[in-house]
Symmetry: C2
Subunit: 235 residues, 2 copies
DNA sequence: GGCGCCTGTCTACGATGTAGAGTCACACAG
DNA sequence: CTGTGTGACTCTACATCGTAGACAGGCGCC
């Protein structure tokens, strides 16, 4: 044996990438609270302090995790049908969020603590790409920004909705119980209790997202003049 | 002097209400991180442990704070124009969020950790009220639920958008610097950098919210058959 | 062969949430 | 007036957290 009697397993040099990937895995598997410096260090078989070479604080680590997920969202800008692209990207985002539900709070919340331009770059790329897409579609930059806000807000709102649809105990047969609705005084919550079955059915997130997109996109079509082939317009 | 030489100031018996109010004030003034048991105890001139009589854990305290804010949202259900009411409530919600920006992360995020029916009651009332409103407007309960989701998602999405519009240092004159945009390689972010002025102008949140509502509501009008005066409809 | 840098480690400190046992005042029964 | 019980509040203690600061060891480069 060379030197490490305990762990002959691979101990490659760390890198920000490796650290963040491990952090993401930890968050995915055990939740945000499990992501402590000590725990992550142990996961990487390294002293917790070693992590500070790759993230200056735990908060920055969280940002890194959010960025890692968001960076997987890539939006081509040279497409013939920009609306179709918005739709596609929306569904990509949804899938990403469903694949990493524990990261969603970070994605929607961390930007509140960080001014726009100081945010991790991977977080800004979708914005830039979407601006590019919309401008090519004929929007002025300012209008593009507005559209971006509506669109991104819709995405965040939708995913927050969809992720709270959790069935407490799928074994339980009684609908009321299964949702914990029995706890509610049905004097005060007749409507809500009446919806037990509908709530239990869960909801088709993809379909709901499409409906919302329909609304947004149809609202937008009366908006831009450029059906296709937009060229640079003079000042 | 009777007994307390230090603080002759009022020390009324605590109550959940008092504790939560103090917690809310603390969060409003100093942010979420400032809300620690010790700090809150000191604020109330009480041993930190005393708080556990009124909230079983820090997490439950956070839920309480979110509930306290959300409970201020009251939506009358017996109104002539339900769409106008949705609009009004949306703006109420926005004002509430702007008044308590530090609580917004809790409002949008805590529900993800708690199954619907186990959430604080004050949190569920807006849902119940909105269902009632929509049913009275002629929607079936299930459709009402769908509308609620779209609407609530829109609200959350909008407010998350609006709250990230923060100007770093209003003293700074250069637009790029003021936003920290100079940090961005403008090879990669030409569009974003080009929007410096627009970003600095901030955005009119109320107007943007109204635009989104226009979209949603106009999408809904083709939806319900009941322009007014809805009575019970036979199965 | 020596020097310097970069990665990772060690130790230590203050702060946090909260369990469990203890204290003290006050309401009420006699 | 006195005893007693109950519930609000306090005390002490502990495991765990983020992270500052000094240190070690190996590798590349001159």
């Amino acid at each position: 044996m060379t030197k490490d009697g305990a762990r002959p397993s691979a101990r490659p040099r760390l890198s920000r990438e490796i650290v963040l990937q491990a952090a993401l895995r930890l968050v995915d598997e055990e939740g945000l609270d499990a992501l402590t410096m000590r725990r992550l260090g142990q996961e990487l078989d390294r002293d917790p302090m070693a992590l500070y070479r790759y993230a200056t604080s735990r908060a920055e680590l969280l940002d890194g995790v959010a960025e890692l997920v968001l960076a997987q969202l890539d939006m081509p800008t040279d497409v013939p049908d920009w609306q179709a692209q918005l739709r596609r990207t929306a569904h990509d985002f949804r899938q990403l969020a469903l694949a990493h539900p524990n990261v969603v709070p970070l994605i929607v919340t961390r930007p509140l603590a960080t001014p726009l331009a100081l945010r991790p770059i991977g977080t800004l790329r979708p914005l830039e790409q979407m601006l590019e897409l919309l401008v090519r579609a004929g929007y002025t930059p300012v209008r593009a920004l507005h559209v971006y806000r509506s669109y991104w807000g819709l995405l965040h709102g939708h995913i927050l909705n969809e992720l709270q649809e959790v069935v407490v105990d799928p074994e339980e047969t009684d609908a009321l119980l299964r949702l914990g609705l029995h706890r509610l005084p049905n004097k005060d919550f007749p409507r809500l209790r009446g919806l037990a079955k509908a709530l239990l059915a869960g909801y088709d997130g993809a379909a709901a997202l499409d409906e919302s997109l329909d609304l947004l996109l149809s609202g937008l079509t009366g908006d831009t003049p450029a059906p296709r082939k937009v060229r640079a317009r003079k000042a």
